[in-house]
C-alpha cells in the first residue's frame, strides 16, 4: 500500500489496531497472572508452606514487570479519539466518556494503591492484609477491564441513550442499560476468561522451561498445577461465554455472524462450519460462486447457537443486504437499500433541524426532529454508498474466528493432559510435554488477539453499530499526520515490548528465590 495515498480513515484504523493490539499483549497477562498469583498466595496463607510464598513472590515479580511496562499504554487509544476520531468523540458524548472516567478514577487507582502494598508490604503488613491487597490488585485490574469493555460493548450494541439533535450528541438516559447490557457482561466474562487463559498458558510455559532445564522443579510443578487448573477453567468458561457471544452477535450483529461463518445464503437449520476453506474466487456477495472450497459442517448447530432453535433461520450476507426475512421479534428485515434511504432522511433531517433552529423556525425544527427520531436507527446507513460497504472482510473474520476456536479446543485438551501428568507426578520425565507447554504460549496470545480481530473487524464498517460508520466518525485530517504518529507508536510500542521481554527473560533465567522467612510479628494477622 502506498504510504501516502491510503486514506486518513484507513491509517486511523490501522493506528488504532496497532495500539490496541500492542496494549492487548500486556493486559491479559496482568489480569491472568493477577488471579494466579492471588491463588498461590492464598495457598501460602492457608497452609503456611513457605514454598508457596516463593512461588507467589516470583510470579508477583513477573506481574510487576508486565504491569510497569504495560501501564498507560491504553491511554494512547484515548488520545486518538480527540484527534483522529473527533466526530465520533463528540457524537458519543458522555456515554463513552463515563465508563472510561470510572475506569480511570476507581479501578485503576484501586489497582495502583494495592499493588504498592503487594510489593512493599511483604513482612510489613499482616499476611491477611497482604493477601487482601493481592486479591484487590486482581479485582482492580478486572474492574478496569470491565469499564473499558462496557464502553466497547456499547459501540457494538448501542443502548440506554437518546440522540440530542441540538447538541449533536448521544446522551445517556439509562446508566444501568449501558452498564448491564447483555452484550457488556458477556463480553466482560469472555474477555476476562481469555486473560486467565493467557496467564495460565504463560505460567505453564515458563514452568515447562524450568523443567526442561531441570531447574526449580518443585516450584515448576506447583506452578503448573495451579496454572493448568486455572487454564482449564478458563477455556471451558470461554466455550460457555463464547456461546453467549454467538447468541448476542446473532441477535444484534447478524452481518458479523454471517462473516464469521462465511455464510452468504441464509437457511433454516443452518450448520456450524467446524473447519473450512473459503473460495478466493468469490468476488461479490451476490455472484454465483460457491463461497467454500471445502467445509466440514456440524448440522443445525449455528441455528441452535444463534437462536436457541435448531430450525431457526440464520440470515446470510445476501439476505441481510436484500432484507425480507422475518426477524426474531416477528418484524420483516429491511433491505440495505431501504435502510440507506432512511439513513439519508435522518442525516438530512439533522442538518435541516440545525438550520431551522438557527432561523428560529420552531415548528419546522420540531418536524425535522420527528423525522430524525423516526429514522435514527438507520442513521449510519446514509453514509454507505453500496451494499458492499456493509460487508466486513469475510476471510479475515472467518479465519480468525475458526483459528481462535481451534486453539481453544487445543488448550482444553492440553490442560487436561497437563493435569493428568501432574496428578501422576510424572511431569519431570515427560520432556515432550515440557516442550509442548513451552511452545503453546504463542498460541494463547494468538487466540487472544484473534478474538479482538473477530470482534472489531467483524463489525465493520461501524464504529457505533448501525449509527455511525468509520468514514463519518473520523476527523478531517491529513493522512500524513496519522502516518507520522503511526510510525511513532510502532517504534514506542516495539521498544516497550523489547524492554518487557528482555527484563522478563532475565528474571526468568534468574529464577525464583527462596522466600524470606517472616521476621516480624503481625498482631492483626
Amino acid at each position: 500500500m502506498d504510504l501516502i495515498s491510503a486514506s486518513a480513515v484507513n491509517w486511523s484504523r490501522a493506528q488504532f489496531a496497532l495500539t490496541a493490539g500492542y496494549h492487548w499483549l500486556f493486559v491479559p497477562l496482568t489480569i491472568g497472572l493477577g488471579l494466579i498469583m492471588a491463588v498461590m498466595e492464598s495457598l501460602y496463607v492457608k497452609t503456611g508452606d513457605e514454598k508457596w510464598k516463593t512461588v507467589a513472590t516470583f510470579w508477583q515479580k513477573i506481574f510487576g514487570i508486565n504491569f510497569a511496562i504495560g501501564v498507560a499504554t491504553g491511554i494512547i487509544l484515548e488520545f486518538q479519539f480527540g484527534t483522529n476520531w473527533s466526530n465520533y468523540s463528540w457524537f458519543v458524548g458522555d456515554i463513552f466518556g463515563a465508563p472510561l472516567a470510572i475506569e480511570g478514577i476507581l479501578a485503576f487507582f484501586l489497582e495502583a494503591t494495592f499493588i504498592s502494598i503487594m510489593f512493599f508490604g511483604w513482612n510489613r503488613v499482616s499476611k491477611k492484609m497482604h493477601l487482601t491487597s493481592t486479591w484487590l490488585v486482581f479485582i482492580g485490574a478486572s474492574l478496569s477491564a470491565f469499564w473499558i469493555l462496557v464502553a466497547n460493548a456499547w459501540m457494538q450494541y448501542p443502548t440506554g441513550m437518546e440522540f440530542n439533535p441540538e447538541t449533536v450528541r448521544n446522551e445517556m438516559v439509562d446508566f444501568w442499560a449501558v452498564t448491564c447490557s447483555p452484550v457488556a457482561y458477556n463480553k466482560f466474562l469472555h474477555t476476562t476468561f481469555s486473560c486467565w487463559a493467557v496467564g495460565a498458558a504463560f505460567v505453564v510455559a515458563v514452568s515447562g522451561w524450568y523443567l526442561l532445564k531441570k531447574r526449580h522443579t518443585d516450584f515448576a510443578c506447583r506452578s503448573i498445577r495451579i496454572g493448568s487448573l486455572v487454564g482449564l477453567v478458563a477455556f471451558v468458561m470461554l466455550a460457555v461465554t463464547g456461546d453467549g457471544s454467538a447468541y448476542h452477535v446473532a441477535q444484534k450483529q447478524p452481518m458479523k455472524l454471517a462473516a464469521m461463518e462465511g455464510l452468504y445464503e441464509g437457511k433454516e437449520g443452518a450448520g456450524l462450519v467446524a473447519m473450512g476453506m473459503l473460495n478466493p474466487a468469490k468476488q461479490a456477495y451476490n455472484d454465483e460462486t460457491d463461497p467454500y472450497i471445502f467445509k466440514i459442517e456440524l448440522p443445525k448447530l449455528l441455528s441452535l447457537l444463534g437462536y436457541r432453535n435448531i430450525h431457526a433461520f440464520v440470515p446470510g450476507i445476501t439476505d441481510i443486504v436484500d432484507g425480507g426475512y422475518t426477524l426474531s421479534d416477528g418484524t420483516t428485515a429491511l433491505s440495505f437499500r431501504e435502510r440507506k434511504e432512511r439513513g439519508e432522511l435522518a442525516i438530512r433531517a439533522l442538518a435541516d433541524y440545525q438550520t431551522a433552529r438557527e432561523q428560529e423556525r420552531d415548528a419546522d425544527a420540531a418536524n425535522q426532529e420527528s423525522i430524525l427520531r423516526e429514522n435514527y436507527a438507520h442513521f449510519g446507513y446514509g453514509y454507505l454508498d453500496t451494499a458492499e460497504d456493509l460487508i466486513p472482510n469475510v476471510p479475515l473474520t472467518f479465519y480468525s474466528f475458526h483459528l481462535m476456536v481451534m486453539i481453544g479446543v487445543y488448550f482444553i485438551l492440553f490442560f487436561l493432559v497437563m493435569l493428568y501428568y501432574t496428578g501422576k507426578k510424572d511431569l519431570h520425565n515427560s520432556r515432550w510435554l515440557q516442550y509442548v507447554a513451552l511452545w503453546s504460549l504463542p498460541l494463547a496470545y494468538l487466540a487472544s488477539q484473534l478474538g479482538w480481530v473477530v470482534a472489531e473487524v467483524g463489525r465493520q464498517p461501524w464504529t457505533i453499530q448501525d449509527i455511525l460508520p468509520v468514514q463519518a466518525a473520523s476527523s478531517a485530517i491529513s493522512s500524513h499526520n496519522v502516518v507520522t504518529t503511526f510510525i511513532l507508536f510502532a517504534v514506542l510500542f516495539t521498544g516497550l515490548l523489547v524492554a518487557e521481554v528482555t527484563i522478563m527473560v532475565k528474571q526468568i533465567k534468574k529464577g525464583p528465590e527462596p522466600a524470606a522467612q517472616e521476621k516480624v510479628s503481625h498482631p492483626q494477622g
Partner: protein
C-alpha cells in the same frame, strides 16, 4: 522489590511503608520505575501536546460551535449530500 526489615509492623504507618519500599528498592524495581517515568513523559509531554491535540477543543471555544462543526461534517460526509 520486596522490602525486608526486623522492625515490627505496628511501628510503621502507611507512609513509612511506602518510603521504606522506595528507598530500599532493588535494581529491578528502579529499572521499572525509570521505564514508567520515561514512558509517561513521552506520552503526556511529547505525544499528547505535539501530536494529539483535541481538534474540536483547539478549534472552537464553545460547545455550540463544536456541535455545528460536527453537524456540518456529518452532513457533508454522506454520499447523497456530497
Amino acid at each position: 522489590m520486596e522490602f525486608e526489615s526486623n522492625r515490627p509492623a505496628t511501628q510503621y504507618n502507611w507512609f513509612t511503608m511506602f518510603r521504606a519500599g522506595f528507598t530500599s528498592m532493588t535494581r529491578l524495581g528502579k529499572t521499572l520505575w525509570i521505564v514508567v517515568i520515561v514512558k509517561l513523559i513521552i506520552l503526556f509531554f511529547i505525544l499528547k501536546p505535539f501530536f494529539f491535540p483535541n481538534l474540536l477543543d483547539t478549534t472552537y471555544d464553545n460547545d455550540a460551535d463544536k456541535a455545528r462543526h460536527v453537524c456540518r461534517e456529518l452532513y457533508h460526509k454522506a454520499p447523497s449530500t456530497e
